[in-house]
């Protein structure tokens, strides 16, 4: 059975995808498994909260995780482990 992702899980998936390298919007689209409009919505919110930045490179627009984004993701993993261990 597939689990319906909540907002936090989607944000975590986006941040995880950006942890290894800077990605183009389309790559992020595949990795996060979201529609174009929904990903745009999430990225706008993450950029507004300064967890993700948009970079202009020779190859075009790329998205990267910020230090705050990496810290937030680490905290999310910790909380997720707590929730999982106590079965919440």
């Amino acid at each position: 059975m597939t689990v319906r992702r909540d907002k936090m899980m989607i944000i975590a998936d986006i941040l995880l995808a950006l942890q290894s390298k800077h990605l183009k919007f389309t790559h992020l689209l595949y990795k996060s498994n979201l529609s174009h409009a929904r990903l745009k919505e999430y990225l706008d919110e993450l950029m507004q909260k300064q967890l993700v930045v948009e970079l202009q490179t020779k190859e075009g627009k790329r998205y990267a995780i910020t230090d705050d984004g990496a810290k937030f993701y680490a905290e999310y993993r910790r909380v997720n482990e707590f929730v999982k261990s106590f079965g919440l």
Partner: protein, 216 residues
């Protein structure tokens, strides 16, 4: 000094450790609620906060009573000064209500009527336990056995070290209350129960440290 004499402050230490660990779990759960906004995490935090406050009341009670006094109390009905009697009842009520809340969250109970009945049961058991102290341990034993059952199911599902530690911690607490029920027969049961309680809280602390220090 006898071995028992050396161990007689164990209930105080078990109380202090119990307060610290359950308070830590409550804070951790509240923090996870702030991040995820899942209400069950808020109620889980409230449950552990009640248990933590219960332990705090127990620690204050133990600080103002002598070990021998507590032994007499545990063997049967003793007229306590109002403040101390109230503190003891508060200790029992908060701990039972806290564990009940944790059970309700674990079992995802939704019916308000069932919850009301369970809390009513908690209040009655505390009122009776004021005269028959072993009933407090029996009630906590009963509730904790349901919590342990949930932890065992979780461990079976996950097979992770953290879920095993949490299962062991709660099983230890269950065992300690089971042993302390027999305190009216001998004070060794009380000391042994408290010793197991300290170890159980240490195991829960170990699980928390592992979660906190999780490699990213």
């Amino acid at each position: 000094m006898s071995m028992l004499g050396l161990l007689e402050d164990f209930d105080l230490w078990a109380g202090i450790l119990g307060f610290l660990i359950t308070f830590l779990i409550a804070i951790f759960s509240l923090y996870s609620y702030k991040l995820s906004k899942h209400r069950n995490q808020l109620f889980f935090s409230a449950g552990f906060l009640l248990v933590a406050l219960g332990w705090l009341a127990g620690v204050i009670f133990n600080t103002y009573t002598e070990f021998e006094e507590r032994q007499v109390l545990l063997r049967g009905y003793v007229q306590l000064p109002y403040a101390l009697g109230g503190l003891l009842m508060l200790h029992m009520l908060l701990i039972i209500a806290g564990y009940l809340t944790i059970f309700i969250v674990n079992e995802k109970l939704k019916s308000r009527k069932t919850m009301f009945l369970l809390y009513l049961f908690a209040v009655f058991s505390v009122l009776v336990a004021h005269d028959f102290y072993f009933l407090y341990h029996l009630t906590v034993f009963f509730i904790l056995s349901l919590v342990v059952n949930h932890c065992a199911w979780l461990y079976k599902e996950q097979r992770s070290t953290n879920s095993l530690l949490i299962l062991l911690g709660f099983s230890g607490l269950l065992l300690s209350h089971g042993i302390m029920m027999f305190t009216p027969f001998s004070q060794e049961f009380y000391v042994t129960g408290n010793f197991i309680q300290i170890i159980s809280f240490a195991v829960l602390l170990w699980a928390l440290v592992r979660i906190y220090k999780r490699k990213q």
